[in-house]
C-alpha cells in the first residue's frame, strides 16, 4: 500500500462533503437539497470506515476466525457508522415530511421563492 492509497479515502470523504455543501448552497429544489444533505452525511460514513481500516484485515466477525489469528478492522467505527445511518434516516425522513408541507403551504419547493422570513 502506498501513501496515496492511504490518503485517498480521506480525500474522498472531504470531496463528498464539499460537493454536498456545494449542492446545498446552489440547490433550486428542496428535495434535491435534502438529498445533498444526505451526500454530506455519506462523507462521515466514508471517513469513519477509513479510520477503522487496516491492511490485510478481515471483517470483525469471529465465527470462523480464531481470535488473534489474523488482524480485523476496527469494529467500533462500524458501530458508530451504523448509529450514524440511523440518525441520518431519521433526519432525512423528517426533512422530507417538512418539504411536503412546504410544497403544500407555499406551492413551491424552490428555496429562491420562499421569502416569508428575512431581515
Amino acid at each position: 500500500m502506498t501513501a496515496v492509497t492511504h490518503v485517498l479515502p480521506y480525500l474522498v470523504a472531504v470531496w463528498i462533503f464539499l460537493i454536498g455543501c456545494y449542492g446545498l448552497a446552489t440547490s433550486r429544489n428542496l428535495i434535491h437539497a435534502v438529498g445533498c444533505l444526505s451526500v454530506c452525511q455519506a462523507a462521515t460514513y466514508v471517513l469513519l470506515l477509513a479510520v477503522g481500516y487496516r491492511d490485510g484485515a478481515t471483517a470483525p466477525v469471529f465465527s470462523d476466525v480464531e481470535p488473534g489469528s489474523r488482524p480485523v478492522v476496527d469494529p467500533v467505527v462500524q458501530a458508530l457508522a451504523l448509529t450514524d445511518v440511523v440518525v441520518g434516516a431519521t433526519v432525512t425522513a423528517l426533512l422530507l415530511a417538512l418539504v411536503v408541507q412546504v410544497a403544500k403551504r407555499h406551492g413551491t419547493v424552490d428555496p429562491d421563492e420562499l421569502s416569508e422570513l428575512r431581515g
Binding site: C21, T44, V76, L80, L98, L117, R118
Partner: protein, 589 residues
C-alpha cells in the same frame, strides 16, 4: 448515587414512550399531567444529584468500565455544570409544559400525547447532552435534541412560515452535526478513544515535541463548527431567528432558554477536557477564536435585534447577542469568568423564557406579534406589562436580578474594551424590548412608519390557542412570574452564587477554586449604567423613531435572506474563519 445518573435520561424517554403508546387512549388532561409529572420528577432528581455532585459522579453505562484505562463504553459524567444544565433544561421544560397546560393548540383527535411526548424527548436529549462524558454519545444526544427541536419548531404544520423555519433550522443544524461527527472521527483516529478525558490524555501522549499538528487543528475546527452552529455564533447564527420566530411559544422558551446555551456549554466542556492539554489547541488560539467570534456575535445580534418589529424575532436576536457574550466569557479562560457565565446563563434562561411567555400571551390574545400593529392595544394587560418590563430590565442587567450578578462578575473578569461591549450589547437588546413595551402596553410615541419591505412583520400570525383568548389564563401569567422570581433568587439568594461558583470551578479546566463571588460596587454601577442606557435608548426610539434607525444596517439585514443555501455557504465561511483564527498555534510551534 452514581447509579441514578442514567435515570435523568431514561425517565423522560420512558415518559415519552408511554405517552406515544397510550396517548390516543387517554384524554388530554391525563396526557399533560403525566408529562408534567415526569418532567418535574426528572427536575427534582437532577437537583438532588446536583446537591451531591462533589466529587463528580462518573457512570459507565451497562458496567462497561475501562480495562487498563481503555474503554469505548458509554460514560455519563455528573459534575456541577453538567447536572446544572440538566436541571435547568428540566425546569424550563416543566415551565413550557405548564405554560401550554390545556390552552395550547387543541391537538387532533386521538393525538393528545404527541406534543407532550415530543417535549419530553427534547428534555431527554438535552439532559443526555449535558451529561455525556464521551464525544460520540454527545453527538447522538446532540442529534436527538436537534431532531426533536426541528419537529417541535414545525409543529404547526399548517403554517407556511413554521415549516420553512423548521426546514432551515434542520438543514443548517444537521450539517453542523455532521461536521461535529467528522471531528470526532478524526479524534478517534488519533487516539483510539471516545471518552472526552481519555481523548484529551491521548492527544497529549500522541503529540510530539512540536505540539499539535494539522489533524488536531482540523478536528478542533470541525467539532467547534458543530457546537457553534448550535450556539448560534455569527456566521453560523442564521437559522436561529428563523426558527425562533415560528416555533410555538412554549418551544421557544426552551429553545432560547437552554438549547442554544447547551452549544456554548459544549464548547466549554470540549475545550476544557479535550483540547486544553499540551497536545491540543494552545490557549491563546482558543481565546483569539472565541473572542473574535463572540464579539462579532454580540455586535451583530444586538444591531439586528434593534431593527426587528416581529416580537419573537426580536427576542431571538437578543438571544444571539447574549450567546456572543457567553462565548466571550468562555473564551477568556478564567475561572471567575466561568462562574459569571454560569450565573448569567441561569439568569438569562429565566428572563428570556419569561419574555417569550409574555410574547405568547400577546400572540394568543391579539393574533399578532407585530410591534407596529399592536401599538397601544395591550393597555388592558397590566399584569403582563409589568412582567414584560421586568423581563426587559432583567435582560439589561438591573441589579439585583441574577443576570446582573453574572454579567458583572464576567465583566470584571474579561476587563477592558470587552466590558464596554457587554454594557452596549445588553443595553441595545434590552432597549429594543423596552421600546416594544412602551409602544405595545402604553401606546407611547407617534405611530411608527412602516419600513421597507425587507423585513418580517409578524402580523397575520395565528394564535396558538383554539380561539383568541378573551381572558388570559392564570397558568400563562404564573409561569413568567415564577421564572422572573427565580432569576431574582439567583441574584439575591444568599450563598447561591458561591455554590454555583464552587461547582463550576471544581469541574472546570482551571481547577482553581475562587474564594467567593458576590456583588461589587463596580458591578452594580455597570448594571445600573446598562439599564439607564437601555431606558434612554428606548425613550429616544419611541419619541423620535427616525433618529435611531440609520440605514447603514440594511446590508446586514439583507444577509438574513431566508435562503437555506446562503446559510450553508456562511457555515463553510465560518468554519474557514475558525480555522484561520486557530492556525497560528499550529504553525508557530
Amino acid at each position: 448515587m452514581d447509579d441514578l445518573l442514567p435515570l435523568l435520561v431514561a425517565l423522560p424517554l420512558l415518559g415519552a414512550a408511554v405517552l406515544v403508546a397510550g396517548g390516543r387512549l387517554v384524554p388530554r388532561l391525563v396526557a399533560e399531567s403525566v408529562a408534567c409529572a415526569v418532567s418535574a420528577g426528572t427536575a427534582a432528581l437532577a437537583l438532588v444529584l446536583l446537591l451531591n455532585c462533589s466529587p463528580p459522579m462518573v457512570e459507565w453505562a451497562g458496567g462497561w468500565v475501562p480495562v487498563n484505562g481503555r474503554s469505548v463504553g458509554i460514560v455519563l459524567v455528573g459534575d456541577g455544570p453538567g447536572l446544572g444544565m440538566a436541571a435547568l433544561a428540566s425546569l424550563l421544560t416543566l415551565a413550557a409544559l405548564a405554560y401550554s397546560w390545556r390552552y395550547f393548540d387543541e391537538p387532533p383527535r386521538g393525538h393528545a400525547g404527541s406534543f407532550p411526548a415530543l417535549v419530553l424527548l427534547f428534555q431527554a436529549g438535552m439532559c443526555g447532552f449535558a451529561l455525556a462524558g464521551d464525544l460520540f454519545n454527545a453527538f447522538v444526544w446532540f442529534e436527538l435534541m436537534s431532531v426533536v427541536a426541528y419537529a417541535l419548531t414545525g409543529h404547526r404544520v399548517e403554517e407556511a412560515r413554521a415549516v420553512q423555519g423548521a426546514l432551515t433550522f434542520a438543514v443548517v443544524n444537521s450539517l453542523g452535526a455532521y461536521c461535529l461527527l467528522m471531528g470526532i472521527a478524526l479524534l478517534y483516529a488519533r487516539t483510539g478513544e471516545l471518552a472526552m478525558t481519555q481523548i484529551g490524555r491521548g492527544l497529549d501522549r500522541a503529540a510530539g515535541p512540536d505540539g499539535p499538528d494539522v489533524l488536531v487543528l482540523a478536528a478542533f475546527v470541525l467539532v467547534l463548527t458543530g457546537l457553534l452552529v448550535k450556539a448560534a455564533a455569527v456566521p453560523f447564527h442564521f437559522w436561529l431567528p428563523d426558527a425562533h420566530a415560528v416555533a410555538p411559544t412554549p418551544v421557544c422558551m426552551v429553545l432560547s432558554g437552554v438549547m442554544v446555551e447547551l452549544g456554548a456549554y459544549g464548547v466549554w466542556r470540549v475545550y476544557g477536557t479535550v483540547f486544553a492539554g499540551p497536545g491540543g489547541i494552545p490557549a491563546a488560539d482558543f481565546e483569539r477564536a472565541l473572542t473574535v467570534l463572540g464579539a462579532l456575535t454580540a455586535a451583530v445580534g444586538a444591531i439586528l435585534c434593534w431593527y426587528q418589529r416581529h416580537l419573537k424575532r426580536l427576542l431571538a436576536y437578543s438571544t444571539v447577542a447574549h450567546m456572543g457574550l457567553f462565548l466571550l466569557g468562555i473564551g477568556v479562560l478564567k475561572p471567575e469568568a466561568d462562574d459569571g457565565i454560569a450565573l448569567y446563563l441561569l439568569g438569562h434562561a429565566g428572563v428570556k423564557a419569561a419574555l417569550f411567555a409574555c410574547a405568547g400571551i400577546l400572540l394568543d390574545r391579539y393574533g399578532s406579534v407585530d410591534e407596529h400593529a399592536l401599538r397601544g392595544r395591550a393597555r388592558e394587560l397590566r399584569g403582563v406589562a409589568v412582567l414584560f418590563t421586568l423581563g426587559a430590565l432583567g435582560l439589561a442587567g438591573l441589579p439585583p436580578f441574577g443576570t446582573a450578578l453574572g454579567k458583572s462578575i464576567t465583566e470584571e473578569a474579561v476587563g477592558g474594551p470587552l466590558t464596554v461591549l457587554y454594557v452596549l450589547a445588553t443595553a441595545v437588546t434590552a432597549g429594543a424590548v423596552l421600546r416594544v413595551a412602551a409602544r405595545v402596553f402604553l401606546g407611547l410615541g407617534p405611530p411608527p412608519e412602516n419600513g421597507d419591505a425587507y423585513e418580517t412583520t409578524g402580523s397575520g400570525e395565528r394564535p396558538e390557542t383554539r380561539h383568541r383568548l378573551g381572558r388570559i389564563p392564570d397558568s400563562m401569567k404564573a409561569v413568567p412570574a415564577v421564572l422572573l422570581a427565580g432569576v431574582l433568587a439567583v441574584g439575591v439568594g444568599p450563598g447561591f452564587a458561591d455554590v454555583v461558583a464552587h461547582a463550576v470551578n471544581e469541574a472546570g479546566s482551571g481547577g482553581v477554586l475562587v474564594a467567593s463571588v458576590h456583588w461589587t460596587p463596580a458591578g452594580i454601577l455597570l448594571g445600573l449604567a446598562s439599564t439607564a442606557l437601555a431606558v434612554g435608548l428606548a425613550a429616544v426610539a419611541v419619541t423620535r423613531p427616525k433618529l435611531l434607525a440609520p440605514a447603514w444596517a440594511l446590508p446586514l439585514r439583507r444577509l438574513q435572506s431566508g435562503h437555506v443555501g446562503d446559510y450553508v455557504a456562511w457555515l463553510l465561511v465560518g468554519a474557514a474563519v475558525l480555522g484561520a483564527l486557530a492556525l497560528p498555534g499550529v504553525l508557530g510551534s
